[in-house]
Symmetry: C2
Subunit: 126 residues, 2 copies
C-alpha cells in the first residue's frame, strides 16, 4: 500500500496535510492525517483527516456538507507531509471563510483579507 511509504513516525503517527484549491492554488487549511485517514482519502476520493481534539477519523464536510473532493495528492521530499489538492465545496473554514488563512499578520497586528462566503450558524447546528 502506498501509505506504507509515508513516514508517520515523526509526530506520533500523524503527518501535516495542507489542503489546497486545485484551480487557484489557494491554501485552504492545514490539518493532520494518520495512516487510516490517508487510506480512506485514497479509497474514497474525499479528504479525510485525524482530528486531534476529537481523537478520531474525520471526513471533512461530514456534518457541514463542505467536502473536499481530491484531484491530486502530493508528497514532499521527506515523505512526511502531504498536499491534498481539492475541489472545495462551500468553504473550508468553520468561521465561514473560504480559507482558514483569511488574515495577514505583520508587526502592527492582524488584518482580515479573506472573503466570507457562508454563515456558519446556518451550517453548524448542534
Amino acid at each position: 500500500m502506498i501509505s506504507d511509504d509515508i513516514d508517520f513516525s515523526k509526530m506520533n503517527g500523524l503527518i501535516p496535510v495542507i489542503a489546497q484549491d486545485w484551480e487557484t492554488n489557494e491554501i485552504l487549511m492545514l490539518a493532520f492525517a494518520d495512516k487510516e485517514a490517508l487510506n480512506k482519502t485514497l479509497s474514497s476520493g474525499f479528504a479525510h483527516y485525524y482530528s486531534r481534539s476529537r481523537k478520531k477519523l474525520w471526513k471533512k464536510g461530514g456534518s457541514s456538507g463542505h467536502t473536499q473532493e481530491i484531484v491530486e495528492i502530493r508528497v514532499d521530499c521527506d515523505r512526511d507531509t502531504l498536499i491534498y489538492r481539492v475541489r472545495q465545496k462551500g468553504g473550508a473554514c468553520h468561521t465561514g471563510y473560504y480559507s482558514c488563512f483569511y488574515r495577514i499578520i505583520d508587526k502592527s497586528g492582524f488584518k482580515i483579507t479573506g472573503i466570507k462566503n457562508f454563515d456558519p450558524e446556518k451550517i453548524y447546528t448542534s
Copy 2:
C-alpha cells in the same frame, strides 16, 4: 508583540509553517517555527524556522543562498499555523527541485512532476 497572539502550545512551542510562492501560490515546503523564529522572520523580512533535527534557529538559505524573502505572512483561524508568502531564490528543496512537493502519489505509487532547477551537489558542500 504580535507573536504573543500565536498559539505555540499545541506542539511543544512549535507551529507548522507553509512556505508559498507569493506569485504563483505554489506550495514550496512545510517546516516548523518557534516564537524566536517568527520574531526573527518579522524583524528581518526573511524566512526563519526552527530545525527539529538540529534543534536550533534556522535561516532558510543561510548556507545555500536560497533565501525566502517575506512578502506577507498569513495566520489561520486557530492562530496555530502560518503561511510565509515568499520570493524564493533558487529552489526551496535540498534535492534541487523548486518545491519539496515534486511528486504526486496515488494508489499505484509515486510520480515525479516537479522541475529540478539546481544541482544540489554544487550548492550544499560540507
